[in-house]
Symmetry: D2
Subunit: 341 residues, 4 copies
Amino acid sequence: MLGVGVIGYGYWGPNLVRNFSDVAGCEVVSVCDLRPERRALVARRHPSVITTADPDEIIRDPRVDAVVIATPVSSHFELAMRAMAAGKHVWVEKPLALDVMQASKLVEQADRTGRTLHVDHTFAYTTAVRKVRELVQGGALGQIYYYDSVRVNLGLFQHDVDVIWDLAVHDLSIIDYVLPDKPVAVSATGIAHVPGKPENIAYITLFFESSLIAHVHVNWLAPVKLRRTLIGGDQRMVVYDDVEPSEKVKVYDKGITTRAGADMHQLQIGYRTGDMWAPQLDVTEALHVEGNHFIECIGRGVPTLTDGRAGLRVVQILEAASRSMRERGRTIELEASRCAA
Amino acid sequence: MLGVGVIGYGYWGPNLVRNFSDVAGCEVVSVCDLRPERRALVARRHPSVITTADPDEIIRDPRVDAVVIATPVSSHFELAMRAMAAGKHVWVEKPLALDVMQASKLVEQADRTGRTLHVDHTFAYTTAVRKVRELVQGGALGQIYYYDSVRVNLGLFQHDVDVIWDLAVHDLSIIDYVLPDKPVAVSATGIAHVPGKPENIAYITLFFESSLIAHVHVNWLAPVKLRRTLIGGDQRMVVYDDVEPSEKVKVYDKGITTRAGADMHQLQIGYRTGDMWAPQLDVTEALHVEGNHFIECIGRGVPTLTDGRAGLRVVQILEAASRSMRERGRTIELEASRCAA
Amino acid sequence: MLGVGVIGYGYWGPNLVRNFSDVAGCEVVSVCDLRPERRALVARRHPSVITTADPDEIIRDPRVDAVVIATPVSSHFELAMRAMAAGKHVWVEKPLALDVMQASKLVEQADRTGRTLHVDHTFAYTTAVRKVRELVQGGALGQIYYYDSVRVNLGLFQHDVDVIWDLAVHDLSIIDYVLPDKPVAVSATGIAHVPGKPENIAYITLFFESSLIAHVHVNWLAPVKLRRTLIGGDQRMVVYDDVEPSEKVKVYDKGITTRAGADMHQLQIGYRTGDMWAPQLDVTEALHVEGNHFIECIGRGVPTLTDGRAGLRVVQILEAASRSMRERGRTIELEASRCAA
Amino acid sequence: MLGVGVIGYGYWGPNLVRNFSDVAGCEVVSVCDLRPERRALVARRHPSVITTADPDEIIRDPRVDAVVIATPVSSHFELAMRAMAAGKHVWVEKPLALDVMQASKLVEQADRTGRTLHVDHTFAYTTAVRKVRELVQGGALGQIYYYDSVRVNLGLFQHDVDVIWDLAVHDLSIIDYVLPDKPVAVSATGIAHVPGKPENIAYITLFFESSLIAHVHVNWLAPVKLRRTLIGGDQRMVVYDDVEPSEKVKVYDKGITTRAGADMHQLQIGYRTGDMWAPQLDVTEALHVEGNHFIECIGRGVPTLTDGRAGLRVVQILEAASRSMRERGRTIELEASRCAA
């Protein structure tokens, strides 16, 4: 039985505590939060769990095998470093850290200590995204042409991170999981509408070595909630709409056909439109799948699907995208990113 | 009774001929097309109209007061210059010309000859776009924060122009008509997937002097047809969805509120969500409204709403956007564009 | 070359004239309408076609082989009887006639004269309805459980026929074409909201000998346009939504499974949910398909898919449904209907 | 502090216990369920609550002021009668009882004992239905013409009650709450597809003394989930779609206009189409609103909005509709129903 300690009982922490209580093979030992009223809430809901205001009490606790970090991103680095140093496996909320420097050190620390470092890229554990990955990587779409995602709604303004770090992190982690290639450069634009607050709208283009292009549109100030991704291949295309209650993934048997024209140098382009197909998706909860996967990978001593390296790759793009956005779209190369892969 | 001659009876020409046959105060005198089978079609459908293979026959014809040019964009400049030189008013399909140089000369020619030079930015004459303009310019949305448009579908690959010149021209002409400010710089990204063909996906960001940002996403290879524009203001927001059979324009009484926090330097952000409202839109045909407007402006000697200057402004952005796209998002300033306004 | 004469150039007549002008193997010889301005319109649009105010001029004309009747339903019987007596083939708009008596006599007249009597149940010639029929009759849905159709919008009030004869006629003709069985009884309810006008809302239930039930909801006073049909089988289910611009037909691999429970007398019910699939539908115009079919059947001397007997079966249900509606849902048996089949 | 005892901890019971734990002014004292594993679940979740297998332990408990009955409908009558006899206030799940006889006796018992008898018609406490009621009863729609509801999905087959008692009970309770008049007769049709199981599809028409008609369509075997109600008035119309995540209620400023024609006896009908408007709806939980209302009404000694009489009226229609369905649509008068009002 693996002991789990959770640091941070704010917005997401309660889901994590509830979830790890349901995962077989582990038990929630203790929960840390600075605010007494949050600790009281834990005590009411989970009478057998120890509460504390001191994260080191969890990190030092010999009954705790894995530390789950659900605090603001600025504290991820310190807490995760200390936890791994103390021999604990670590689950960190996304994004992994504040910058590439921190994220790299966390990856090194995991390597050095031999601990499991897992980043909570939850979407990679949804049945919809797994189906999309299967379609993309299994060749059903053919050669991938583009990945286009829109994630907008009237959302909470963050004070410390811009909309890229808050929302695009989801899309970038899905892209990291789903696409066969890694981006080599990024160009982003965006704007801040409230003085003193970070950018609340952003558009990110990712360039690849192949003829693949990816684009992410995020916005905290949209009147409607949109969560739609288009993925085009030369054989088929996918619409993944996370707002749809059912049929989140639709596969379109559509595309273009090319053949040499009368003039040898000129390609003739034709169209092909066939059936649409929405595969049945199980309704398992992503967080539960992810929790099981984390526990199982610790047991087998293998990295999780969304390990520290995945977290680092995403932070590299986040950092580059934010920089490009502040320079009105200047292209930033991502060489470093490939070394980390 | 104003005489109209139409040059080009391809995809759009038949709509123009049919439309001008219905507009009061004018009559279609002659139609030119190089292809005998197209001329035969004109003859069958409009027995009283003269057909010819020679555009100059129309340009020189004293019964023709206005020349309508619906030929490929590469021929717009020559035909329109000659028509104005011959004293004719001119209606040109969008985009006005191949580049800023040509477009500028057309505007000068119109000034010099005192002729009406009209560009067929059809959307400016739809009830939906007019309602959007009324909302934006009448202040209902408050200060405008962003304009975001998506125009994608499985569309015809063009051979000579990229997807920006083919599709984004619509959005840029709507932006020109609807927004209170003119853009000062542009950054675009995109890609060509078929060897030897122009770019088929593009993302364009327009920067303004105010804290307004505009973005246009166009794609010839999308599995679904999307025509959706989000416009956010600090008072209200609009969704304009041209694919909707009715309720194309929806106004959301939503936004954020800001007030000084306890800490004087920190703004507190709140949310406001109220009713949604879809104004009733008449079902007049845009082309008919535009035809009437063209004839009326000729009669009154005033420029049309989408005159040569509007056409030039749009061409300036198209040219800059295509250039930026080929340089992976490098920001291009649009100083010249403001001179023309 | 088959000569066609069209009687009635009101709402639907122009579509018929235009359509028969395009159908190979026939030519429109003459058009009749009582109103001089409608005849003038025909003359302008189709200079080679003879116009007349007297239907008998068409019926007697030796160049006319087939008479198309697009007049108010009250005149269908007289015109069609006379046309067949004169040796003409006949195409009648739906519904075939005012009542079962008239419709039966038309079927007898067609038998006696050996002429083709065709009823314009246009939906039977759409690719969507043909696909639905193929799914139902090919067994893809298994045993059919129900057919449920909604056809409502803010529609034109008719003065002489109720909403059943105006709108439900479409659904009843689709049911006649698509379902494997014929109904044996009908119960309908409805109401008239405008004094002196016919019923504007109606609900019709059709009973069958098998465990199939069909229901049709029609309404002239609905705020939104709905055209949706659900068809449930024990293997699969279909949603046919005619308002959808694409993907009009969706097939759901869903259903219940039954097996004997522990208690022999009690069935255990389980659920099965699989993929959804939207077959690609060609975009051929139904009226064109139907016109070709009419001409071809005349040539081969065989009945059309929607012949007089189909028209009679639909009129039998219309008549019974209207009667049931006026008696607040009293069940009316349809014995007569089965004799006609 | 009002003591609450809950009988039945099956599908809905947990929501009730959780909800009454949150309602101010009351506390959950005890929970009864026959199954030990359900009682164990209560103990884990609510350590301070007493559990028992014997409902009479709750009914006799002096600390219990109100008994909440969430058991199968067949036991409602016995339990509620005994609870009121013991001086308890009663909250019963819908439908109130198995038939009119039982429901009438419960109403009498409540009158005799002076206890509050409340039926859990939850929808009456949603913001959407309350807004619909406000629109209907405040006159915004004008004279009400029709109420049309569809409630279908692939749902759990019930063993003991048909689809009318399971699903249409929701619509009938909304109709009872929202419409200004009470129905006077009912005609229903339906069918059972699984041998030995109750009817799984039903269509119910309600007749009123005014020119209002209501219709309810319920189905346990539909491939898609639909929850849509159309309400038409002579001034405006409403679409209430409970599946919509936001904008559940839309008001259409549409209708017909009538005026006397040239012929005095003939009305001319025109159309009016104006804006659509979706009022902002708060996102309060209906069950919480209802719980507060129940406690408050007990305190003030007044009936709740959905009291025993409302429950009885709904049972009267359910009973009549089921009977009519078994007689293929025969109209059943609802005289008794009006006496109870």
